[in-house]
């Protein structure tokens, strides 16, 4: 699946997106681990050091929906289409 990356994650991953193997039934957690395996520079930027939780203020969206308001990292992907990952962002 294609994972779109934003802001400070882009230079770390070397591009605007990453294509990661995924299939329906995978969890977001699984897919993010594959992303980090592909791009080790993202270690510590998306998940906590133990890899078990999303870092505070990092946002992962599936179809515009934050996984924080679904089942978090345990959210199951039903359609393998599009994911967006943002580091902490705010402004005014």
């Amino acid at each position: 699946m294609r994972i779109r990356l934003f802001a400070t994650l882009r230079p770390l991953a070397g591009g605007k997106h990453a294509d990661v193997p995924a299939e329906p039934g995978d969890t977001v957690h699984t897919v993010l681990h594959r992303l980090i395996e592909q791009h080790p520079a993202l270690t510590g930027e998306v998940l906590t050091p133990d890899g078990q939780a999303l870092l505070p203020h990092v946002q992962v969206f599936i179809g515009g929906e934050s996984i924080r308001h679904k089942q978090g990292l345990d959210t199951v992907l039903h359609q393998v289409d599009d994911m967006a990952v943002f580091p902490p962002v705010a402004g005014g």
Partner: protein
Amino acid sequence: MTLTGYANRVARIDLTAASVAYEGINPDDARKYIGARGLGVKYVFDNGPLVDALSPENIVCFVNGPLTGSAMNMSGRLAVCTKSPLTGTVTDSHMGGWSAARLRWAGFDAVIFGGKAERPVYALAENGQITLHDASDLWGKGTRETVRILQARHGGSHVSVMAIGPAGENLVRFAAIINENDRASGRGGTGAVLGSKNLKALVAIGDMSAQWKPAPDKKDAVDSARKAGLKGIMEGGLTAPRKGGLSLYGTNVLMNIINEIGALPTQNGQASHHPEAERIAGEEIREKYLVEEPTCHACPVACKKEVEIKDGKYAGLRTESFEFESAWALGANCGHVDVPSITKLIDQCNDYGMDTIELGNVFSTAMDATEKGYLAEGLVWAQTERMVQLAEEIAHASSPLGKTLAKGAAGAAAELGCPELANSVKGQAIPAYDPRGIQGIGLGYATSNRGACHLRGYTVASEVAGIPFQTDRKVAEGKGELLKIFQDLLAFSDSMDLCKFSSFSMGAKEYADMYSSVTGVPTTDEDVMRTGERIYNLERYYNNLAGLGEGSDYLPKRFLTDPGTGGSTGLVSQLDVMLKEYYQVRGWQNGVVPPAKLVELGILSAAAAEAAATEEMGGAQPK
């Protein structure tokens, strides 16, 4: 005066009489309202709520906070407070850069202008004195040339100049005051108030040798508070210099995430998602257009992003700053994502002295009106060359349409016979967050004391970014209480005067420590919130007295009835649910502050409240 940190010097200038009087800070008011926004609102309140905003009777106050110009991080700001010609409310609009610090180093907590000069003048603040000078040669000039001339005349680039351009002179209702760093007192039409007084600029000469320093026995407390604040900034995932998203991409780091969730008002709110917004986002700007990253006094974040257009008809154009709000207002909101055109329009706003947010909404309203047949030969979506031409006509009041649009989005829409097309509240147009996609910010627009505004209560931090805790942007319940917390906290930080972005890495505890270490007033985080609440209620009370009573808190109908798109497909604002909760939490009666609340917060004495209670408030209609 037992408070430390203040210069304890306020200048009151009667422009009609060309006279200046000096006074100290009222210690009781300083304790209750702190400085900057809070104290400025108190000056405006004491001047009376019924003055015509563009009359000599109105006052305009440049007010520092006790932290302004100090070594505290993110403290390089001042508030311009007045009665707004755009909204009829009290307003405060803050500018960054170095002007605030230099005004403080020139010896002033506040400089207050009333009356109207017989001919154009500018004021010079230096060594605790204000002098008035002829500005006839500057009238008609843009802010850039005005800055160049006045800096050359008074000593060079270390001189601060806060000036209006032709928009202010021509009383454009959303005229801004711009300083030498292209930082703006942007919202609410403060520039028009200066123009109505024939006041071209306030010049401040001061250097860091005049910076406030704590007494030896207070130095440790001040250093400790400063270092705690700095630690939050340096380690914050958002603010860390050259590492955090705000530092690297500026405010425009928001463009993609706000569009992703379907909360980017597009084509005047006809949609809430723009398919190509990424082309004007901070990431794209940093990669292709960024040339410099200047910063404000005492700020390591450097969120300002100066851009240069490399080719095309605007090749060589260099301007500061390509902010999220400006990029949205003048771009996606008007149906295009052309970076050179947006840059040109921002540059015009900075030089003519206009609010980019209101101008973008003026254009999008005119485009909507043209599409719907209210405006013949008007403006069509993405008609960027015509936008540039019209910006000039508005600022110079040089065409009939320019004069109509100079009234702001709400004023222009009313004149064109389509008031429903203006996305405005209390006469001021909305910023870049769609109320359908972020419920709390819609409530924030409705209840803002200065018209639609995201900066009064930035619930986006919680609803989108999860700062300081995550809430669900789609849920209405709980947003009344959440908004009150943000409104009260930011009313306090605005009064110190700290940058809003400090709230991404600091909270009430850090604010309390900073304030108490500088002023010597023992302060807790509860005190911070209570003081913020007092300031917010004083503003609301002013507005109530100015005629904005029940029914003044609302949203444009479009956001209540027309569903959003993209990540907010099918959503509308649930304003009624949120307003009910909000009024309950505030202790207000349908938007009106009851006398008992004014007494509880120390705004009025019991006797004064009793007298006020006997007066009819009047059921004003929203403007």
